[in-house]
């Protein structure tokens, strides 16, 4: 049973799926992310926005284990909870995660990168698309289901001997792939190499591939970059489907404010590695600091003038 919600706008405070606590990432002398804290609500579409170089992708890389944060904690919470006791025990006990039936807490900063999608259910896409270009679209989606299939193939031994259990599992994996190909309108291209797809199709395939890992949280790094308005609209629909029909929460980095404002329940704004705003799309939109950051205005008073100008 999930706890009843006070108001939908507060989900990230009441039932956080992911919480980032005092995250700091330094590269040599450069502080890319500075003491950042925010939460991602269960079932929310959360947007992480900010000007270029604000540290958004660095946050993603910390979330998904590609970077080890210099300081701070990143917690994924699965299931209904309660999480606090488990979290405290895991944290002080030096554990990476603690699971109990459906519930579980995962300290992502302690987990190696490949364990994060597998255990904590965090999948991601990349800003500069990373597909397996020389493999077909279908193969890309099968690779995404590697861990499940590995078990089904008896860690390869059963598969070499051709045991029927693996055949069934593979059939299932293909069905799942086909489902996501339908959702992303790529079914016709299933047997084409991924490197042959158009840019927009590659972006969709990357999302489909991430969804094939069965994630609880999907992190999208600029999914609308380079898409035309029609493709953008399709993308919005796809993200909504993912959230509404699969219970997967979405965290996205995006520059296209049209996309952000239309689909986000919750927006976190970064500038120079520091959080400058956090709230619903509506509140963030009108935040003078955000506008200043985007328009590059030094003076806050001046920014407020601009806000009034926008509002009128």
């Amino acid at each position: 049973m999930t706890t009843p919600l006070n108001s939908p706008a507060q989900r990230w405070l009441d039932t956080p799926l992911l919480s980032v606590e005092h995250l700091t990432m330094r590269f040599g002398g450069i502080v890319a992310v500075d003491d950042l804290s925010f939460q991602v609500g269960r079932g929310d579409i959360t947007a992480l926005i900010g000007p270029n170089g604000a540290g958004k992708t660095t946050v993603f890389n910390c979330l998904t284990g590609f970077y080890k944060p210099s300081e701070g904690r990143i917690v994924m919470r699965h299931g209904p909870g309660p999480h606090d006791a488990a979290l405290a025990a895991a944290h002080s006990g030096g554990l990476r995660h603690s699971k109990d039936g459906d519930s579980g807490v995962f300290l992502l900063e302690r987990m190696p990168d490949f364990e994060i999608p597998r255990q904590a259910g965090v999948a991601r896409t990349f800003q500069n698309i990373r597909l397996f270009g020389g493999m077909t679209v279908l193969e890309n989606l099968l690779v995404a289901q590697h861990n499940g299939l590995m078990v089904a193939s008896g860690y390869t031994l059963g598969g070499i001997l051709g045991l029927p259990g693996y055949r069934r599992a593979e059939k299932k994996a293909i069905d799942r792939a086909v489902y996501w190909l339908e959702q992303t309108a790529l079914l016709d291209r299933a047997d084409d190499p991924a490197g042959d797809l158009s840019y927009g199709a590659q972006r969709r395939l990357e999302i489909a591939r991430a969804m094939c890992t069965g994630p609880k949280l999907l992190c999208l790094d600029e999914p609308a970059a380079g898409l035309n308005p029609r493709e953008s609209a399709e993308l919005n629909r796809l993200i909504r489907t993912i959230r509404d029909e699969h219970g997967t929460s979405v965290l996205l980095i995006e520059h296209d404010m049209g996309v952000v404002m239309e689909i986000s329940d919750h927006v976190v704004v970064l500038d120079y590695g520091v959080k400058i705003a956090d709230g619903s799309a509506e509140t963030v939109r009108n935040d003078p600091k955000v506008i200043a950051a985007y328009l590059g205005v030094e003076d806050e008073a001046e920014a407020e003038d601009i806000v009034e100008g926008v509002a009128s």
Binding site: T64, G65, F66, D113, F114, E115, I116, P117, R118, A123, R124, F126, R130, L131, F132, G133, G134, M135, T136, L138, E139, L142, V143, A144, Q145, H146, N147, L149, M150, S153, T156, G159, I160, G162, Y166, E170, I174, V178, A190, D191, D192, P193, G195, D196, R209, A210, T213
Partner: protein
Amino acid sequence: MATASNIRPGPTRAASLEQGAFVWSVALADAAKAAALAGILGFFFIGMKTDIAGDGLVLSYRWAALGHAVLIVFLGRLLLDALLGKAAPVTTQMLTAGIFIAGIAGIMTQDATGGSLPARALVGAVLGGLIVAVLYGVALWRRRPAPARAEATRQARFAIPIGIALVLLALTLPFLITTFLPGQQRQFIDLAILILTYVMLGWGLNIVVGLAGLLDLGYVAFYAVGAYSFALLSTCFPFIGFWSALPLAGMLAGMWGLVLGFPVLRLRGDYLAIVTLAFGEIIRVVLLNWVDFTNGPNGISGVPKPTFFGLEFSRGEGGFADFFGLEFSTIHRFIYLYYIILALAFLTNFVTLRLRKLPIGRAWEALREDEIACRALGINTTNTKLTAFGIGAMFGGLAGAFFATRQGFVSPESFTFMESAIILAIVVLGGLGSQMGVVIAATVMIGGIEMLRHISFVGQIFPGVDPVQYRMIIFGLAMVAIMIWKPRGFISRRNPSAVLKERKSIGADLVSQGEGH
């Protein structure tokens, strides 16, 4: 003088020449430049020779040979320009070809030390004619229309019948040889065994380099571990039969693959390459110097020959021939060895093809395409690389064990870096990841080089010239030429491991070569 040919631009060098009409003055200037360069490069090597005399060195001069080399390069470059470079009229082509042939024939009458004059000229003309014919063939091939996509899929469709035909050929080959070439049966079956050994090694390395995209320059280490494991096991513990020692040797090599692989597989690209090379050398040096264990440079001899369910291939009572009521012949043992390596190679191929369609194989290929994306999908890349390394090493070890039993003798000098380089060359020339490509490359390169061993008849015409010593130069040049002609190897299309509706092969330009990109 074939020695000068390494400075002659390869056939496809002409690809970068701008299109346009053939102009004599330009072509002559080109040829003159090439000839001048040949003169410079050959000055100290062809023009002079140092020899040990007494307790010092003396210098002798061979200006005639240098002149011939320069002339060949001049004529050859002219011929290349006319045949491959620009659109030259047929008369020009024929003229340059004629001059080239005449030049070679003329040189032959000068250079060689024996045989009658007309005979030498004739051989020269034939040799020149052969070169012209080959170049003309290349020219024709290059002018053919570009293959359409449909043709590529048609080729893919032929793959299965061709494969079946090849399997049948491989299964019946010893009988074909004994039936049709009884005089040289031993020699040809030996060659087939050698080629199959390289096919197996190529297939083993293909897992590591072709599928997982890990550049391994020390593969021969596992070949050596397999050979020595087998040799030591079967000589120290004679009660372990061939069929138990064989898998043990394979497992030991696989274990070594895991042990060596574990610390180094997180290195990227070329760092991995140099570390594997280092391991290869370390193992060889240890084998060479750990005399108590390996008998050092003398190697281990008396490695037992395989038996057929306990039957030895020996003359007399209780031998294979006696048991089956056949007339004893030494060829039986070679045929048996042939079938053993054929079975091992088939096993390697079967396992590899199976693995490609399993999650582990797909993870290897995904790793080659993009390691970071793999990790983002929850694939443990270290373990995945290790399995590739370990399985590749295991097959290398099995091939090594076979090598030990075939030779009856192992010594460190069989496991030099050059061996690793040749196996890698077979994999790359064949086309990374392609099983059929390995077969083609091994047959062309190993078969070719062994065939060159048998061109000693040329030496009968020209006493004092030993053409056999040129075979490694030809081998090296062939490697260069094939790579420039087909940088992706003979078979460059990738076959998908899973199909929804229609099987389409994937062009090489999309497939990554792994690590470092």
